[in-house]
């Protein structure tokens, strides 16, 4: 079974599809304003026409490629392709201005390659432990776990004001309640509209929030970015990487752990690893920080790529995506009737090994494709946003339509795009909405089942479910910590 899965991931067709995904991901990630989540959300539609393994390899390729792609524009034109590439931009562009852009990008490729390896190794190492633990989760624990996913996502997305993150998560939950109730078969909030009985499709929501909303936000702006300078020779130097091996390993752990926390994605990972790296750097290296430090690039790039493996950990083991791109991957899997979670090894034997191999393959292909694609990417930077962004609109339409061949889903995508734009204007984060939409059905079903089990039981019995009580304390802690953070922020501002 294990070998079958590994060999499947290594078949020539899958390798070509993975390479296509990686290449598309690199180019997409390199384009300023086009994020990893947007790439993943829009390409779900394309993966709908593929079989399960092909779709999975393609999406993992896109994920791996686009996380690295952000570094190219960050170094070359001082605009991060993806938000997590900001630390790479701070350091890399300084180096590019000194004529060391090729070397900086080479180091970024090597660091991304190592980061992916750290993430994959930790994923392979920890998944059996989490799966063994998660198999003991009952309805009460699953409900609390879903609630933790949404609240943590809210806290992590809106750092200074977690309240807005929670509100976004709650809005996602409310959207997911629309449709036929899973326990009694009662229509909820359908208002006699037939299409609403199937519920609101979260892939359409995802495409609207991260695809169309971004087009609506960026396309009407009148500013332009400059055309890039020469790249120079791109040389991935392992000698230099070896010099920063301690920073690389540390950042890999930071990236993977952050990735495993719902809502905390590559942005948090790269900034945190960058900040820790600065504090731990030797004085002579610390002096270079902010002025073009190679060690800083290693910290940021290792962390944001290790984040990929980390984000897969809760998604595969618990069915809770670690971040928005992982949510898109989960959506692609759901389209193929793959239900991930504690019983993944029983329901889909061999799938986990296929995913491990696909991640390794995508990483190896990313290394090669990155070196080849850097120069074509730099040429593409000269394309104005006024040309690039309108081309995304038909992809959004086809992507939303392809899920169930329904125009209703296209309208859901359009409405989600508008909601995403309005929420952005009012400074609400959008990622928790996706977590809310995905996790609400899990929370709803398990909450009512748990209440049914606890009927006629004392509060002492409920509290004697130790794992559940622990998770309840975690939920309370997240809320209290968030409220304290808001107060601290308010005090700081009053002091200004």
């Amino acid at each position: 079974m294990i070998w079958d899965s590994i060999l499947q991931a290594l078949s020539p067709y899958i390798l070509i599809v993975t390479l296509a995904g990686v290449s598309l991901g690199i180019v997409w990630g390199a384009m300023p304003g086009l994020s990893t989540t947007m790439a993943m959300a829009l390409l779900i539609g394309l993966s709908a026409g593929m079989d399960q393994n092909t779709a999975l390899s393609f999406m993992l390729g896109v994920y791996t490629g686009s996380v690295f792609g952000g570094a190219i524009s960050a170094v070359m034109i001082n605009i991060p392709g993806t938000p997590d590439a900001v630390p790479t931009m701070i350091e890399g562009h300084q180096l590019a201005r000194r004529g060391e852009g090729g070397q900086a990008l080479g180091l970024a490729i090597g660091a991304s390659f190592i980061g992916n390896w750290v993430g994959i190794i930790l994923l392979v190492g920890f998944i059996p432990l989490i799966l063994a633990f998660a198999l003991n989760f009952k309805s009460w624990e699953m409900f609390l776990l879903a609630l933790i996913g949404i609240t943590v996502s809210g806290s992590m997305a809106a750092g200074s004001l977690p309240l807005k993150g929670w509100i976004a998560g709650w809005l996602g939950m409310l959207a997911a309640f629309v449709g036929i109730d899973s326990i009694h078969g009662v229509p909820r909030f359908t208002f006699g509209i037939l299409e609403l009985q199937d519920g609101i499709n979260y892939v359409a929501v995802l495409i609207g929030l991260f695809g169309l909303a971004e087009v609506l936000r960026v396309l009407p702006q009148r500013d332009h970015y400059t055309i890039p300078a020469e790249v120079g020779r791109v040389v991935p130097s392992f000698k230099m990487l070896a010099r920063y091996s301690r920073a690389a390993v540390r950042s890999g752990f930071v990236g993977t752990i952050i990735g495993a926390i719902p809502g905390a994605g590559a942005n948090v990972a790269s900034f945190l690893a960058y900040d820790i790296g600065r504090r731990r750097a030797k004085p002579e290296e610390k002096a270079k920080w902010g002025k073009g430090s190679y060690e800083a690039i290693v910290c940021a790039e290792v962390a944001n790529n290790a984040n990929i493996g980390g984000s897969m950990l809760p998604m595969l083991a618990l069915g809770i995506p670690g971040n928005a791109p992982a949510a898109a991957l989960l959506a692609a899997l759901t389209l193929k009737n793959v239900v991930v979670g504690p019983t993944i090894e029983i329901d889909h034997p061999g799938l986990i090994y296929f995913i491990y191999t696909a991640l390794v393959v995508a990483n190896l292909l990313m290394y090669g494709a990155a070196i080849i694609l850097i120069k074509p990417c730099v040429i593409l930077f000269s394309l104005p946003r006024g040309l690039l962004l309108p081309l995304i609109i038909p992809i959004c339409v086809i992507g939303a339509y392809a899920i169930r061949l329904s125009m209703f889903d296209v309208w859901v995508m359009f409405a989600s795009g508008l909601v995403g734009y309005v929420l952005h204007t009012f400074r609400f984060p959008t990622a928790p909405i996706v977590l809310g939409v995905i996790l609400a059905p899990l929370a709803d079903e398990n909450f009512r089942r748990a209440l049914l089990i606890f009927e006629d039981k004392t509060i002492g019995f409920v509290l004697s479910q130790y794992v559940g009580t622990f998770l309840l304390v975690v939920v309370a802690f997240i809320f209290i910590e968030g409220i304290l953070r808001v107060r601290r922020e308010r005090r700081d501002r009053q002091g200004v």
Partner: protein, 182 residues
């Protein structure tokens, strides 16, 4: 952080808006949550209260209402204390956004209402060109001419090339039907 860069969360845009905006958001959220709470109570409940279909929606909407109230109270306090809002670098142009929304809405409406498919044989292969392709080319050319601001023929050429490529991939490589096709 170096260079004065500050990071506070996964979404850098998220945070306090102006007190007025936060107050409007809180009012809308409160109204929405109250409406959902009423609708949740009105839902059929075949079993006991613990398995009622409206239970979690009611609790979710209730807690959302409390959060909206907290957001409103913070906005009022910030307004009274005249605490400045951190402004973003972005310069949104809501009027141009509205024009874009209008274009996209009209385009989707046309796809919904107009359905046709023209098929022809080319080298023994049956190929199709339907309402989706035609309507998307028109919509894309219009949007490009407004936002890219190049000659109409350039916009039309880009639209035809892009839509034909995209439709071809979905229709013939992944065999996914397109909207507006019969």
């Amino acid at each position: 952080m170096a260079d004065g860069q500050h990071f506070s969360g996964e979404d850098e845009n998220a945070g306090f808006a102006s007190p007025g905006q936060d107050l409007i958001a809180a009012a809308v959220l409160a109204l929405l949550s109250l409406w959902i709470m009423i609708e949740s109570v009105r839902l059929d409940s075949p079993g006991s209260l613990t398995t009622a279909p409206g239970l979690l929606p009611f609790l979710t909407a209730g807690s959302l209402c409390a959060m909206a109230a907290y957001l409103a109270s913070m906005a009022i306090r910030r307004h009274r204390n005249r605490i400045a809002t951190v402004l973003l670098d972005e310069k949104p142009d809501h009027l141009r956004t509205l024009v874009l929304v209008g274009f996209i809405g009209a385009y989707l409406l046309c796809i919904q209402l107009i359905n046709f498919d023209y098929t022809f044989l080319l080298g023994g292969m049956r190929l199709g060109y339907g309402a989706f392709e035609v309507l998307t080319i028109i919509a894309l050319t219009t949007i490009l001419s407004v936002f890219w601001r190049r000659a109409l023929w350039s916009c039309l050429a880009v639209s035809i090339a892009w839509v034909t490529l995209l439709a071809g991939v979905f229709r013939y490589v992944f065999t996914i039907p397109l909207p507006g096709s019969i």
